[in-house]
C-alpha cells in the first residue's frame, strides 16, 4: 500500500482578490469544484468523497457532510472543515482514504468571498482586528489582553531566531522581495504588477510587528481552490498527466493559538515529518525542483529550509542568500507569488500551493514554468508555527 498509487487529477485556482463581493461563497466554491472536475475530465457523478467547506446558507457551515445531498448519491468520505479541507493535509487524508479503498474520487477545497450571503462575516483574519477579537480558545482569557495576532505571533519566533542564529533582516527581505516579484509577474496574483521589489523596498516598508515590515507579511484576500484525487489506475484514463503523492507527513506540537509562539517549541517541528516524507518517496530534499511552501511571513520560508534538512538548524538565512529561491535559483520557492503576493484567503491558500505544484509538474505553468520540474515539495503550516503538513509530488 503506498500513497503513490493515488493521483491528483484535477486542479483549479479561482480568481483571488482583496474582496470578492460579486460572488457568494457558494458560487465561488462551486466554481472551484466544477472547474477542477472539468480539468480532470470527471463530473460530480464520479465524486464520492468531499473535503470541501460547506459555505451555506443552511446546513452546518464548514461541515462537508452538507454536500452529501448535492452529489445525487451518498458520499463515502467527508470532513468537518477548516484545514482538513486544504493543502497538503487534505491531499494526504484523501489519498489515504482512496488508497485504503474507503472511496474512489475525492474533491478537496473551498473558498472565501463576501457576496450576498456570508456566514460568520466573511473576511479571513490574518491581520487585526478580526484575529484579536476572536481570541484564543480555552485559554480563560489569559492571552487576550496582550495584543498578539497572527503576524505578531510569527514575529516572536523570527525574533528569537535572529537572536540565536544571527539571521538578518536582509535575508528575510530577500525572501519577501523574491516571492513578491514572482507575484508581480503573475496576472492571477492579487499583487500583480505592483512591483518589482528590491530588498531595500522590504526593509523600508512600514513596520508592522518587528522584525516584520508590511512587505514581510502576507496580504489578506479572498478566493478559492479545489483539487480532485483518485487512484493512479483510474487517473491513467483521464485528461491530464497524473501527479502522484510520492510521500507526505503531518506534524503538530500545540493546539492553534493556545499560547505565544516560542522557537523552543517549534524548533524541531517538521524535521521528523520531512524524514518520513522523503523516506517514503526514496528521495532526498536535494532532489526537489520546486518548493510551494507556506509563506505567511518571509521568515517562515527560511525555517522551512531548516526543517526540510536542506541546511542546518539556524542556517536558513545564509542558505537562501544570493538568489537560491529565485525562479532560476537552485530551489525556486512559490513561483506564482505565494501568500505574500498571490493570495492568502483564509485556508485555501494551502490548496493554492498544491495547484501550483501540480501545474509545474504538468508543465502547464506558462511563463513561470520551472524547467525540468520532476519533484515538487508542498507544505502548509500555521498557528504561529505549531503545525506543518507536507506532501512531495511527482509525475507517475
Amino acid at each position: 500500500m503506498s500513497l503513490r498509487d493515488v493521483a491528483i487529477v484535477g486542479v483549479h485556482a479561482t480568481r483571488q482578490a482583496r474582496v470578492i463581493d460579486d460572488l457568494t461563497p457558494m458560487q465561488l466554491t462551486l466554481g472551484a469544484i466544477n472547474a477542477a472536475l472539468d480539468d480532470a475530465g470527471l463530473t460530480r457523478d464520479d465524486v464520492d468523497g468531499a473535503a470541501v467547506g460547506w459555505p451555506g446558507p443552511g446546513g452546518l457551515i464548514g461541515d462537508s457532510t452538507s454536500w452529501a445531498r448535492f452529489f445525487g448519491h451518498p458520499l463515502h468520505l467527508v470532513s468537518e472543515g477548516g484545514l482538513d479541507n486544504s493543502g497538503a493535509r487534505a491531499v494526504l487524508r484523501a489519498a489515504s482514504a482512496i488508497e485504503t479503498g474507503l472511496c474512489d474520487v475525492v474533491v478537496v477545497g473551498g473558498g472565501s468571498a463576501s457576496g450576498p450571503f456570508v456566514p460568520g462575516g466573511g473576511s479571513p483574519n490574518f491581520t487585526p482586528p478580526a484575529q484579536a477579537a476572536r481570541g484564543p480558545i480555552g485559554a480563560g482569557g489569559q492571552l487576550d489582553p496582550w495584543g498578539g495576532y497572527v503576524a505578531s505571533n510569527f514575529a516572536l519566533v523570527a525574533q528569537r531566531h535572529m537572536h540565536e542564529y544571527g539571521t538578518t533582516r536582509e535575508q528575510m527581505a530577500e525572501v519577501a522581495a523574491t516571492i513578491r516579484n514572482n507575484g508581480h509577474e503573475n496576472p492571477e496574483a492579487v499583487m500583480y504588477d505592483r512591483g518589482p521589489y528590491t530588498i531595500d523596498d522590504v526593509l523600508q516598508s512600514r513596520p508592522v510587528a518587528s522584525p516584520f515590515n508590511l512587505l514581510d507579511v502576507c496580504l489578506v484576500a479572498q478566493g478559492g481552490a479545489a483539487l480532485v484525487l483518485t487512484s493512479l489506475e483510474r487517473a491513467r484514463d483521464l485528461k491530464q498527466t497524473p501527479v502522484v503523492v510520492l510521500g507526505g507527513a503531518m506534524e503538530f506540537v500545540r493546539g492553534a493559538w493556545t499560547g505565544g509562539s516560542a522557537l523552543r517549541e517549534c524548533r524541531d517541528l517538521g524535521k521528523a515529518g520531512a524524514k518520513r516524507t522523503f523516506g517514503m518517496a526514496g528521495l532526498k530534499p536535494d532532489d526537489v525542483d520546486v518548493m510551494c511552501v507556506y509563506d505567511p511571513t518571509s521568515f517562515e520560508v527560511l525555517r522551512a529550509f531548516e526543517w526540510m534538512g536542506l541546511c542546518g538548524e539556524g542556517e536558513g538565512g545564509p542558505f537562501i542568500e544570493g538568489g537560491t529561491i529565485a525562479r532560476d535559483g537552485r530551489f525556486p520557492v512559490n513561483p506564482e507569488g505565494g501568500c505574500l503576493s498571490h493570495a492568502w484567503n483564509g485556508v485555501q491558500q494551502m490548496t493554492l500551493k498544491v495547484v501550483e505544484a501540480v501545474k509545474q509538474l504538468r508543465g502547464q505553468a506558462g511563463t513561470r514554468q520551472i524547467p525540468d520540474c520532476d519533484v515538487a515539495f508542498t507544505s502548509m503550516a500555521g498557528s504561529g508555527a505549531m503545525h506543518v503538513e507536507m506532501a512531495l509530488l511527482g509525475r507517475a
Binding site: P136, A155, Q159
Partner: protein, 130 residues
C-alpha cells in the same frame, strides 16, 4: 474604548483574584512539578492535575515583537508583545513589556512583573525592566 479584557472563568478566577492582590500565580503540576501558561485542563507534560503556585514574577525576555499595527481598537499605537521566561522553572508567559522605550527591548532583558489595574475586576500582569 479599552482593549479586550480577559473573561474570568471558573478555571482562571483564582489567577485574576491573585492579580488584584499583586500576586502572580502559575499552574504547577501535582505530579511532575511542570509549570505551564496559559492554564489548561491538565498538566500538558504528564496529564496530571495541577494547583496554583505563586511565582516571584521575575525573568528575562525570551522573545518579543514591537507591534506598530495594533491588534485592534483600544490597544496602544505601539506596544511590546513578549514572551517572558520566568526564573521559577523557565515557563513562558505571554505579556507586554512596559516602562521602556520599545526600541530598547532585547532578548535576555531582565524583567519583573508589574500589575496595572484595568477595571474593577481585572489587574493585568505587565512586565517592566528589573
Amino acid at each position: 474604548m479599552t482593549k479586550p479584557l480577559p473573561t474570568v472563568d471558573a478555571m482562571t478566577a483564582p489567577y485574576w483574584e491573585a492579580a488584584q492582590r499583586g500576586e502572580l500565580l502559575v499552574p504547577e503540576c501535582d505530579s511532575c512539578g511542570h509549570k505551564h501558561f496559559p492554564a489548561e485542563a491538565v498538566c500538558p507534560k504528564c496529564l496530571s492535575n495541577w494547583h496554583w503556585a505563586t511565582s516571584p514574577g521575575v525573568g528575562t525576555v525570551y522573545s518579543f515583537s514591537v507591534v506598530r499595527r495594533p491588534a485592534g481598537p483600544g490597544f496602544p499605537d505601539v506596544y511590546v508583545l513578549a514572551l517572558v521566561e520566568l526564573s521559577d522553572g523557565g515557563w513562558l508567559m505571554t505579556t507586554n513589556i512596559v516602562d521602556i522605550d520599545p526600541d530598547d527591548v532585547r532578548v535576555g532583558l531582565p524583567v519583573k512583573v508589574d500589575f496595572r489595574k484595568e477595571s474593577e475586576a481585572i489587574s493585568l500582569p505587565y512586565f517592566i525592566p528589573a
